[in-house]
């Protein structure tokens, strides 16, 4: 997994590439998110459009990142869910927890 970071209108966008699974640097997203919070960046958008695979550990990673950000008064939202990831979040009732978007502009505006 690799993570690219960019900023738009005060929102930090993490473009995540590859697998979010048990083998693949499991804590990477969580660590990245923690760093951002420490730097005072509390509006975080995870772009998951280029994620090729997610297992239950990966879902756990997204949930941990979410609770970390929320506990510190920030917002973490999801962009470009693949069909398979959407299904995993739906059956685990996490679609009701996460704000998710298919349009980047709309997602960024939602933080204002």
């Amino acid at each position: 997994m690799t993570i690219d970071t960019r900023t738009s209108n005060g929102v930090t966008i993490l473009d995540i590439h590859g697998k979010i699974t048990i083998g693949e640097g499991s804590a990477e997203i969580r660590n990245k998110v923690r760093d951002l919070l420490q730097a005072g960046r509390k509006h975080i958008l995870l772009n998951l459009g280029d994620v090729s695979y997610v297992d239950s550990s990966g879902i756990g990673e997204l949930v941990s990142s979410y609770t970390t950000v929320t506990n510190q008064g920030g917002d973490l939202k999801l962009l470009n869910l693949t069909r398979k990831l959407r299904e995993l979040l739906a059956i685990t009732k996490l679609l009701t927890v996460f704000d998710s978007f298919d349009d980047e502009k709309e997602a960024i505006e939602s933080f204002q």
């Binding site: 048990i22 083998g23 239950s56 756990g60 927890v97």
Partner: protein
């Protein structure tokens, strides 16, 4: 298996997470050999992956001298997959429900839930000699959607 879809295929490997991709691509190849559609192959592969992770982590406690065994049984109407470890097994009543409000935001506890969601049946069996055996089944759709005279 061109001639006859019966028989079985077994694998056995050291408790190393590094084997997961190998096991999963084997599962994909078996799924495709049996004529499962791409989505079914995907969910079978994920279910197997979750069960093998559990066998390595919870069952064998990542002790690389302990082994995980996976057995694929080819029946005329379904694929049966058995995953065995050398651990202490589990009590089904101890498996947490990840949809419980208290569990919804926990980082773990969704592996078995995925297996139960995507396979047609799942059974847990603590073996007399020790170790858990997870038995999961996926039925095959003998008729494709485009079949004639099918209602």
């Amino acid at each position: 298996m061109s001639s006859n879809k019966s028989g079985e295929f077994e694998i056995s490997f050291s408790s190393d997470i590094g084997f997961l991709d190998l096991v999963q691509s084997l599962s994909d190849n078996i799924g495709s050999m049996l004529g499962f559609d791409a989505d079914s192959q995907y969910w079978i592969g994920l279910s197997l992956r979750e069960s093998v992770i559990n066998a390595i982590q919870h069952g064998n406690k990542e002790d690389r001298s302990k082994r995980v065994k996976v057995r694929f049984e080819f029946r005329s109407d379904r694929l049966v997959i058995l995953v065995r470890d050398e651990g202490h097994g589990l009590k089904e009543s101890d498996i947490p429900d990840p949809l419980q409000p208290d569990n919804l935001l926990k980082p773990g506890g969704r592996g078995i839930f995925f297996v139960r969601s995507f396979m047609d049946s799942v059974a847990f069996n603590v073996r007399p000699k020790g170790g858990l055996e997870v038995r999961m089944e996926k039925r095959m759709n003998r008729k494709s959607e485009g079949d004639e005279n099918d209602d």
